[in-house]
Symmetry: C2
Subunit: 400 residues, 2 copies
Amino acid sequence: MDIQTKFSDKVKDLEASAIREIFKLLGKPGVISFAGGAPDPELFPCEELAKAAFNVLKDQGKIALQYGVTEGYAPLRDWVKNRLVSQGIIKKDDNNETIIVSGGQQGIDLAAKSLLNPGDGVVCEQPSFIGGLNCFRSYNAEIYGVRNESDGLDMEELEELLKQHKNIKIVYTIATFQNPSGITMSLEKRRKLLELADKYDFIIFEDNPYGELGFSGETVPTIKSMDKNDRVVYLGSFSKILSPGIRVGFTSCHRDLMERMIICKQVQDVHTNVVAQMIIYEYISNNSIDEHIKKLRAAYGEKCRFMCECMDKFFPKCVTHTHPDGGLFLFCDMPEGYDAKEIMAKAVERGVAFVPGSTTMIDDKAVCSSFRMNYSTASKAEIEKGIKILGDLLKEEVGE
Amino acid sequence: MDIQTKFSDKVKDLEASAIREIFKLLGKPGVISFAGGAPDPELFPCEELAKAAFNVLKDQGKIALQYGVTEGYAPLRDWVKNRLVSQGIIKKDDNNETIIVSGGQQGIDLAAKSLLNPGDGVVCEQPSFIGGLNCFRSYNAEIYGVRNESDGLDMEELEELLKQHKNIKIVYTIATFQNPSGITMSLEKRRKLLELADKYDFIIFEDNPYGELGFSGETVPTIKSMDKNDRVVYLGSFSKILSPGIRVGFTSCHRDLMERMIICKQVQDVHTNVVAQMIIYEYISNNSIDEHIKKLRAAYGEKCRFMCECMDKFFPKCVTHTHPDGGLFLFCDMPEGYDAKEIMAKAVERGVAFVPGSTTMIDDKAVCSSFRMNYSTASKAEIEKGIKILGDLLKEEVGE
């Protein structure tokens, strides 16, 4: 049978995540990887979660192991709602509904499936998160990129696009400590984005997995917190503050849209793993998640500062980098014309890996002189060693 | 904002699972429910799974809590592959790829998304599983029903449809101990179905969550085991043999189709919960899953026989029922014209619930005189009491 002829238009030309392909290059032992996007496993509260899991399955196994409701395990759902209210992100009695999803990615997918017809337009930050880009591609959306400036989306470029393209239904933003750039959108731009949403009638996806990982403690208010007309689909997750492997996230949006998303979730995975939801609920009932998050902030903040220092010391001056105030990533720019993909291949040979910026661009085939660096998983010694190797290579390839 | 105008064509007319709506009627305390589709929670190996979870998180937490690969946790994936090979379902070195998914439902969804354009045809058994039907609806497929006879799909009706409708891309079947009917497709019909698949060039989804739950120990070979041209997408799950709440299933199909499905899974939930996969792997490494399944078979077989006996004793003669040889369900037919939905409402008032057959039909608005009965969760005392109440009601409503 010629299976190739059977594929749907949506998926026949999709490509596997280029980042995954890069990971295959990393089989070489001893490679220092700044390519990942994962939290530091040394900081997982394994003991506490082991106890939580044991208690849940021993005492409430008949609930944990049985089918659950699509909206999520009620005590965890209530906890999330209350937390979002206490953080000012949603209001107690508004038009929003909050549900538990199988990781933040599922929230993007359910909202995209509920809203996108083939050819509908989605605006993404340039660069953006590959999981978001690929999701919109998988519904045959037309994706438009808008430059992410040091204070977030270029609002003039965005409005120009909105005037030109009447098909734009969604603007997707990781407004706080963005992946891959580490950039945070300013308060003024957040307000402007909501104004534009009203004027041009689009929906905002605010993907906020890193929002709690601010190094200074101060964060700009979420877009959702200023969302008077229920235009924002807010996407949150336990992945970066507790564990990504356990696949539990949450999402909050207008209840009518959420009703569609819940039906999509029913046909997608029925409900999120109850065992996982109850383990998390047991953990947060017996431990302070805020104390845990404080530890993460301190650790990632220190590593980020250290990586910036090493870059300033070892990188050629013509290679610049962002200065994130939170999250897991920073983004480097070589002078235009250099191909980060080619340099990445050479770097891997010398024992260092990163993510070429092309994989975070809408046109992922074009030559791209930027690259993403993750600082959360390597040790400080590895950061110093890896940045030195990379700096030497960049000096050879790009010049001082 | 008028959010209603924003919904995609795919989902704007979808309705929530009618079975879920029925569950809302069941709030009344003391209702004996034959409406569920869940395994008996008394049979969950809670202690063993509690120990497994504790060990996994304590000793291997850094792996379990970290991001995993989309294809699944390698040791569990290998275990599943080897089991499918030893059961004769796949061959050791064939064109198939096997991956772990977040429950059997996700396998249906990923394959549907990878294959279906709007308007493509899907043939389903009539009655069929609502999760399958709703999934195909969510991709705007055209769904055709074929009568499920006591030995499976009516092959003449199917071929007639295939001649008439050139858009048919998929035939979806729960060939063994079907949900909702309990019917098993005969070996002859399985061979015929594969013949037709070659002749009319379609793909078969063989959804087999109940295959291991045969009461007599004998089962008809799976369609996948006779699949010479890689036309079968095989869908399996731990939901009915271990736990549905833990959301771990598996699927096996042509590697090129699987490649598409893996990309869809990346944008859907990145990967299946690693904690859950490792708990299952730890459990099956230290316990005999086959001994556990033997217990389930014996328990469900006894309850099924007992429910049939009670029906034969208390139901009017004009209400007939299937005689499943495995699985969790049997299906009852009243004489034509009676509306199982109306009778269900009256039954709930008397303290008994079941699933009206209309929810399992392609046209779920038409009057349907059939209903689904689940025997796995009620106790024998509840079965006797509930069937007696239902029998009295049916005698009043339908006559002797």
